[in-house]
Amino acid sequence: MSAWLEVHRVSKTFASGVLFRRSRHEAVRDVSFALQSGEALAIVGQSGSGKSTLARMIVGLIEPTSGEIMLRGQPVRRRTAKERLDAAKRLQMIFQDPFEAMNPNQQVGTLIARPLQLHGYEGDVRQRALELLRKVGLTPAEDFVSKFPHQLSGGQRQRVMIARALAVEPEAIVADEPTSMLDVSIGIDIMNLLLDLKDEFNLSLIWITHNLASARYMADRIMVMKDGSVVETGDVEEVIGRPRHPYTKQLLLASPDPRRERAEPQAASAADSPAPPAR
């Protein structure tokens, strides 16, 4: 049986510059992977690794230059409005900056109702919006429906975006660094919320991040990207516990982690510890 999502040899090249100074940049290079239903995959990489470009191709915001993306063995087609709507119903994305993903003139209730209307929801739209707000922990929901984005905190905005993503009952959520602009204590709440929702609705999750520790927290499998290519992939504990690629090792050593020394003293010997305590 084929996987829920299959990304087959996908590449994306961006052209830039004008006339005589044209240059081409290969943002994503020949990436393939499969994702099972209900599985969580973390795509980890630093800026410029191509992780966000890959995410955007998966949800159809941009077209791959080559390669194919398949859902349950069928190539995803997004040529007609109907095809785009069908794909959107299955795969939803949440973004790094929720403020940019919201119309500032629309109240929360309208923001959430919009996808319901687009996808022809037949029940009571308002009731459904309230239910979704409660689902993401925005209570009392009646207060939140009439708020405008600027009246919400960053964490609350991200919750609204999650509610909006859930509105169409998707099969998967692609989350592109949704916590990187939030304070850590707020970010961890959002991560916990996504983990709960994933279990409750058996969602697949693609978690895009530059932070290895958050990848471990959120995902079962991990894919490490560098300069548009996948350098290592595998079970998250396996890759973090025994990285094989030098780049993964380098990332691990550079990631601050107070629990490193006590948990695994051998992991960071004095010589290659990033910054030994100055004393």
């Binding site: 964490g155 550079a254 107070p258 629990r259 020394e261 990033p274 910054a275």
Partner: protein, 323 residues
């Protein structure tokens, strides 16, 4: 004697909704050659503190009280002209965005030389060029970069240039406000280890401000934790590695996923930071605190200085003054 002694610092912002204190009675000290971290989440006042120390606050922000003693001198009493003489030479500040420190239309070399000549007028051009080149070498940049413009360098290299610039005049204290936040972890690691290495060689102290507590625990001697305009804890790195004393610090440590040890569900900290225009009565963290007791909502916690450092929390005794 401490190199820097900040006591009861108050910074007030005037807004249309009324005044609020972004920094409300913050005290801490930094010893010579110490790596001191200041951590907290957005709006806690950590950057405002850095700007107050460098006298870079702009209206509507204003220092409204407290004292800043630096190497025995009271900085708040200095005139702007007097302050200008020490700002970069003895207390440089490295900002999150290196481009806030650099001039985009001047070559790197010209900017470094500019700093040298402004503070050491007797220096000849040739000496200044030689010192600028040496400063770049200290941060592992070839002297050819003197001829480059900032935009020709990567983010990490630019931040190294700013650190070189900070080192030019043999400072006593370098303030760093989120200097690596915009950089990749590998670049961040390179810069942080460079700072530690240079500190060992030159003996300057560092005030390193960030929201990233795990990063501070990699290299700082002591860390101050701020919440809603207040200092809530100052502890050694060792103490924090044991989990910290203030419930907010404990919550903060519980908010960072780890790469090591068993995978556990993290609790984080419920709720949101308070609105500083009308902060909650009593302890400012009390509405989010899992260990709050009846007195926490009534009286401000006292300030406890002891052998472990500093903590301001009712759990550690001292009823404190009613607010």
């Amino acid at each position: 004697m401490a190199l820097l002694e900040v006591s009861d610092l108050q910074v007030q912002y005037e807004t249309v909704r009324g005044p609020f204190k972004a920094v409300d009675g913050v005290s801490f000290s930094i010893r010579r050659g110490e790596l001191f971290g200041l951590v907290g989440e957005s709006g806690c006042g950590k950057s405002t503190t850095a700007y107050a120390l460098s006298r870079l606050l702009k209206p509507p922000a204003k220092v409204t009280g407290g004292s800043i003693a630096f190497d025995g001198r009271e900085l708040t009493a200095l005139s702007d002209a007097e302050f200008d003489r020490i700002r970069w030479s003895r207390i440089p500040i490295v900002l999150q965005n290196a481009m806030s420190n650099l001039n985009p239309v001047m070559r790197i070399g010209a900017q470094l030389i500019d700093v040298l000549q402004a503070h050491r007028p007797k220096l000849t051009k040739a000496q200044a060029v030689a010192e600028a080149a040496r400063a770049l070498e200290l941060v592992d940049l070839p002297k050819e970069k003197l001829h480059r413009y900032p935009h020709e360098l990567s983010g990490g290299m630019r931040q190294r240039v700013v650190i070189a610039m900070a080192l030019l005049l043999k400072p006593d204290l370098i303030i760093m406000d989120e200097p690596t936040t915009a950089l990749d972890v590998i670049t961040q690691q390179g810069i942080v280890s460079k700072i530690v290495e240079l500190k060992r060689e030159f003996g300057f102290a560092v005030l390193f401000i960030t929201h990233d507590l795990p990063l501070l625990l990699e290299f700082c001697d002591r860390v101050g934790v701020m919440y809603a305009g207040k200092m809530v804890e100052i502890s050694s790195r060792e103490e924090l590695l044991k989990g910290g004393r203030h419930p907010y610090t404990q919550g903060l440590l519980q908010s960072f996923p780890s790469l090591h040890g068993p995978k556990v569900r993290l609790k984080g900290i419920p709720g949101l930071p308070p609105d500083l225009i009308s902060p909650p009565q009593g302890c400012r963290f009390q509405p989010r605190c899992g260990q709050a007791r009846p007195e926490c909502g009534v009286a401000s916690p006292g300030e406890r200085f002891d052998e472990k450092g500093f903590v301001s929390c009712h759990l550690y005794g001292q009823g404190g003054a009613a607010s």
